[in-house]
Symmetry: C2
Subunit: 368 residues, 2 copies
């Protein structure tokens, strides 16, 4: 039911020229006589010719495809797990990357590595013929592996643990973010005892945030008791579950819980509410990411805003720059974060004033 598509041979025959001429007319590289070009174009139209991108890529060594590798929660032969774990920050990053890639004329090839059996270098390497460069999300590879991969194909690391010696890294400033959060908690709210809810333990980004938070707390004289470092997995359900478990322990609660993302913060608040604890009156809870929906929560989440789509976009920009120029690219690009103070820490909701009568389009253009 699918006809085999016409090739430049067909076009050449119909137009009465050689395939080289067809190719030249197609790419308008060297000069083709206007009359000849017209003949070729007419033949292309008639045959509904569309050049085969793969053949072109093979011969030119350029594919206009970027690969985006990310980790996916293990699937227990069960679609719902994905659903649960979905709507996470990764998706925003992917969207941002895809959008920017499209602007550069690239497509984005998604390649997820199941976190249960870590992809092995080979599956990644086998992409090297297909894509022009690779973005590794929330870095799953060790330094050696990254170095090895980067020798074969341009690589940009997105988030993840510390900077790599062998590839450009794009990430947000977790340290600065946590420092500003901790500073707010300690100076404005006089907090000294805090807790933390981490993301999936396999996620370097989660690890980075825990460490950054620990350091920030230590630096400000507060305490973070081990019993109050709760291990979530990025989902709101996990936030709820780990807080429930915590509430069943005898140790007194800290004055505040910082969460490694907003979803978990929501789950945490829910679990606290179920036990009759009020946020922020009885205990403070903060998030990370500033996803749109949680602004509508009551209390609205105090959180750290990072632009996931910007992160994805900058990673793409960086990779494209690496491909275009041979000149050196900055080794590490750190994007800023911003503490957004709302109700869940007990502050007045300082959210940007909401539009009062705007239509959707107005609202959109003002969103910038």
């Amino acid at each position: 039911m699918v006809d085999s598509p016409p090739t430049i041979y067909d076009v050449a025959k119909l137009a009465g020229v050689s395939i080289a001429t067809v190719s030249r007319a197609l790419n308008s590289l060297s000069s083709v006589r206007p009359s000849t070009r017209a003949k070729v174009m007419a033949a292309m139209d008639e045959l509904e010719f569309v050049p085969n991108a793969v053949a072109r890529g093979l011969s030119r060594g350029k594919h206009w495809i970027l690969g985006l590798v990310f980790t996916r929660a293990t699937v227990d032969n069960n679609v719902l797990v994905v659903e649960e774990a979905s709507l996470l920050y990764t998706d925003i990053v992917i969207r941002g990357a895809e959008t920017r890639a499209a602007e550069h004329g690239y497509s984005l090839l998604l390649s997820s590595a199941d976190d249960s059996h870590p992809s092995g270098m080979n599956s990644l390497l086998s992409l090297s013929g297909t894509v022009d460069g690779l973005i590794l999300l929330d870095r799953v590879l060790g330094d050696e592996d990254v170095a090895y991969l980067a020798r074969r194909i341009p690589v940009v690391l997105l988030a993840g643990r510390g900077d790599s010696p062998s590839a450009v890294t794009v990430r947000v400033d977790n340290k600065q973010a946590m420092r500003s959060l901790v500073e707010h908690l300690t100076t404005v709210h006089d907090i000294t005892r805090v807790g933390f809810v981490s993301g999936a333990s396999a996620s370097p980004d989660s690890v980075a945030r825990v460490i950054a938070f620990r350091e920030a707390i230590k630096g400000s004289g507060g305490t973070l008791d081990d019993v109050d470092v709760l291990d979530g997995d990025w989902t709101s359900a996990s936030g709820e579950a780990v807080m429930q478990a915590r509430l069943n322990r005898p140790e007194p609660l800290p004055q505040a819980f910082a969460c490694a993302n907003d979803q978990m913060a929501v789950g945490v608040i829910y679990a606290l509410n179920v036990r009759g604890l009020r946020v922020p009156d009885d205990i403070i809870v903060t998030g990370f990411d500033d996803i749109t929906l949680t602004r509508y929560f009551k209390p609205a989440l105090t959180t750290i805003r990072q632009s996931g789509s910007l992160l994805g976009a900058v990673a793409v920009d960086t990779l494209v720059a690496t491909l275009d120029a041979s000149h050196e690219i900055e080794r590490t690009i750190v994007l800023p974060t911003e503490l957004v103070v709302r109700g869940s820490c007990g502050c007045v909701d300082e959210t940007e004033p909401r539009l009062t009568l705007a239509g959707v389009s107005t609202l959109r253009s003002e969103a910038g």
Copy 2:
């Protein structure tokens, strides 16, 4: 900094055999003597050879890549718009598709069509050399275009308007969904006057839901006044905005608003609350999709659950089946939806009981 990778020619030379033998050892198609295979394998290891997927694809005509085409909100040179419009249902579908594709051994190539200048057939056709099949999300193409495309490459339509005569369609049962929602509202809550908040006007899925809702209401004797069909764009901000605008009009409000997705329902409820209207006491609001986060809202959303990841997964299954077998595939696959009754319509929260002490892993395996 990137060495050109070894080819089978290099391997053949090192192993002292011909490239055909290398290829055969690689694919273990016809028989290769064990000793020869060992030599070849050794050479591959030494050279760190990885076969070039593009070259293989060109010659075999099989690429192990599926294309997923979706519409993206117009970008005003502004990343934040993406952020705002993100975390939408599309992302879950993409995730589900990617996961299932990986299980089948395929990668997923993302290709977004900016909704401002609808991609034109050509950009889609030019994918035909790269991917083995195409999934069109929330169908952006007219019937003729789909038919044209489907003659060139296997196509599966995901959601969107009615079924197409020329390609397999995978969608949820919007009609049944709206019927069950309307039935609930009219029989349990004695609602007769309702409103509706639609998604982006360009989205066929949104259109389908409006129509389905209209029919269901008409069928049950209720009324849906034109002034109460509010045009959102899927985002919660748009839900808030259109409801604010509606509240500024003099016409009395209906008894309930159904929203085309959960995000907008959240925005709608927020706008109502700001004006001092309580949900569900003063007015009922319902959603669509059943995204995880809104279960934690108060009131928890009454909504229609559809599994986006399942939708994506089934679309992939269908496409792969089309590729594998030449046998006929069912023309239309309709996935069920389920009315989930929670607090926002005034019913008791019948949500599945929450786990009380589960660790994260326990919680996960029970999520199925």
